[in-house]
Amino acid sequence: MKGYNGLYLMGNFPDPEAFVEASNAGLAFFDFLEVGVPFSDPVADGPVIERAAGKVLAKGYRAEDIFASIEKIACPPGKKIYIMTYANQVFARGNGAFATMMKRSGASGIILPDVPSVERARFENDFARYGIDLVRFITPESTHEQIQNAVPGARGFVYCISIRGITGSALVLDAETKRKIVYARKYSSAPVVLGFGIRDAHSARIALEHADGFIMGTRAIEKLESDGVSGLQGFLKEIAMALAE
């Protein structure tokens, strides 16, 4: 598939076995996996991902259980697993304790949507010691100066939040945001990957016109829930074929 692309799945959703299978299926097409470690109050997520997190928590799975499942994923060489969770999951456990769990599971990067650039340092330096990348963000609200500060030292990839909104919203790229993506790519040595609002081959193609890649999440969770692992696999295959190089 064209670009540097990621697939978001919620850890242990709909159950640990299906999650691992879906992850392996996803890694056949995608360059990285983004695994959600559920938090009770996911303010950056829309109703689909929030509900999935709620179901995982209601079954009593803890972060440790998610990491045990991640260990079972067969991650091909050159591909990566990122963790996506909220600041409290890391902060209240301690950066070192969380990084140790990540390292053991084979995850090598982390996305914390409620940790903006101004609060990054308290996490970034600790994670770097474990060789774990803390992903940086740019948004439609970022100024050129902020992009210049965020992007040059970025590790892994730069997460470009495509819209003002939460996960599961529709993709609308305004001219200003497109200009910001061009600007970010100019300064970044890491790929600039577009997330939020990528639901199908059409929106993925729009993302790839402007950025180095895309992340798909909400739609994958819906598909996995309604049609199971094989349904998700078929859906991902269709997208990969539509976006073949």
Binding site: S40, P47, D114
Partner: protein, 393 residues
């Protein structure tokens, strides 16, 4: 003591700005507007004029003679229940409404638990000709129905929040999600000293009028300072407001009262200071009721304004530095205080404020002979259904 928060929005270890990157510039814009506001004589005069002639400030300090005779404690009440809309919340929403207008944002959004902050925001939106959307957990909508009707009458849209525990915490989640979407046109009028910087500082400053007045009133009218100042603490805005007038007087003991609910197990209380540990929720580092898996725990209080799993970061700082003592009052003690004040003084207090009074009454031996100033942060009309149910009146 150095003026807190620091320039990064921290009260010692607590505070900060833990929100999506998309909101960072809006928070900075808000802080700049607030600094400009503080320097502008015109804007300060407008706020002062509205607080006096619209809201009804200053509110009195009343010596509760009957209650004092009965308990052997000299009890003074700062009557925020007499403020327009029935609680201290309006002090903050008038300030933020003017700020929002200054930033040319014509839409206000708010979260509400008991409904008092929602009503106060809807009121200011009506006054300033702004659009208003209030997020309220569906559990709270049910138990605070009169306030829902008031908000609608004032022209606000009330959106029920069905996720999570369907109370205040989830209403804040929903408001934050709205703000991320509409950040260019919308101001999030946060109702307590919680959330990301600059909210804890700004809301405290807007509420500091309570403390300033009370301090002067005690000295001028009531023969001098109190020995204790007591306030209930949900997010902690009424407490932050009244404490701010007495912080410089180290002889005066400050007491913050949390909701003790009906038990010690998770979901039976809202005692963050006793049972919580450091965490991050809704934008700041603070004491948080959380499981060992670092998930936010369910909370309970008979009063919808106190059942919040986190607390303002400045209060967390006050606790660690022993500037304020944080204690608990149970549902039962709060209800008893509510009944007693109603019968002895003819004042029906909000169940939130009843926790502050309930602590003093249940520990009357500790306060024997002392002068105690209680912040009566709101009136109890909104709570009549609960009071009727719980006390079988």
């Amino acid at each position: 003591m150095k003026k807190l928060p620091d320039e990064r929005g921290y009260f010692g270890e607590y505070g900060g700005k833990f929100v999506p990157e998309t909101l960072i510039n809006a928070l900075e814009e808000l802080e700049r507007a607030y600094r400009a506001f503080q320097k502008s004589r015109d804007m300060k005069n407008e706020l002062k004029n509205l607080l006096i002639n619209y809201a009804g400030r200053p509110t009195p300090v009343y010596f509760a003679a009957n209650l004092s005779r009965k308990t052997g404690v000299e009890i003074f009440l700062k009557r925020e229940d007499l403020l327009h809309t029935g609680a201290h919340k309006l002090n903050n929403t008038i300030g933020q409404g003017l700020l929002s207008r200054f930033m040319s944002k014509r839409r206000l959004i708010a979260e509400t638990g008991a409904g008092q902050h929602g009503v106060a925001t809807a009121t200011v939106a009506a006054l300033l000709g702004m659009e208003c959307t209030v997020y309220m957990g569906s559990v709270d909508i049910e138990r605070q129905a009169p306030n829902v009707a008031r908000m609608k009458l004032l022209g606000a849209e009330v959106i029920p929040v069905e996720s999570g525990s369907r109370t205040l915490k989830d209403a804040i989640n929903a408001a934050l999600r709205d703000w991320v979407k509409n950040v260019r046109t919308t101001h999030y009028c946060l109702g307590s000293v919680v959330g990301p910087h600059p909210f804890p500082m700004m809301v405290r400053d807007f509420q500091s009028v309570i403390g300033k007045e009370a301090h002067a009133q005690m000295r001028k009218q009531w023969g001098g300072d109190p020995d204790f100042v007591v306030a209930c603490v949900g997010g902690g805005s009424n407490a932050a407001g009244i404490f701010s007038g007495f912080l410089h007087l180290t002889k005066i003991k400050l007491i913050g009262v949390e909701a003790g609910g009906y038990g010690n197990a998770p979901g039976e209380h809202s005692a963050r200071m006793r049972k919580g540990r450091r965490g991050i929720l809704h934008g700041c580092i603070t004491y948080l009721l959380q499981s060992d898996d670092c998930q936010v725990l369910p909370v309970h209080s008979v009063s919808a304004g106190l059942d919040y799993p986190a607390v303002g970061p400045e209060h967390a700082f006050f606790k660690d530095n022993e500037i304020v003592e944080y204690v608990r009052c149970s549902d039962k003690e709060a209800l008893e205080a509510c009944l007693m004040l109603s019968k002895l003084e003819g004042i029906i207090p909000a169940l939130e404020s009843s926790h502050a009074l309930g602590y003093v009454l249940s520990k009357r031996k500790k306060f024997k002979g002392a002068r105690v100033l209680v912040n009566l942060s709101g009136r109890g009309d909104k709570d009549m259904d609960i009071i009727r149910k719980e006390t079988r009146i």
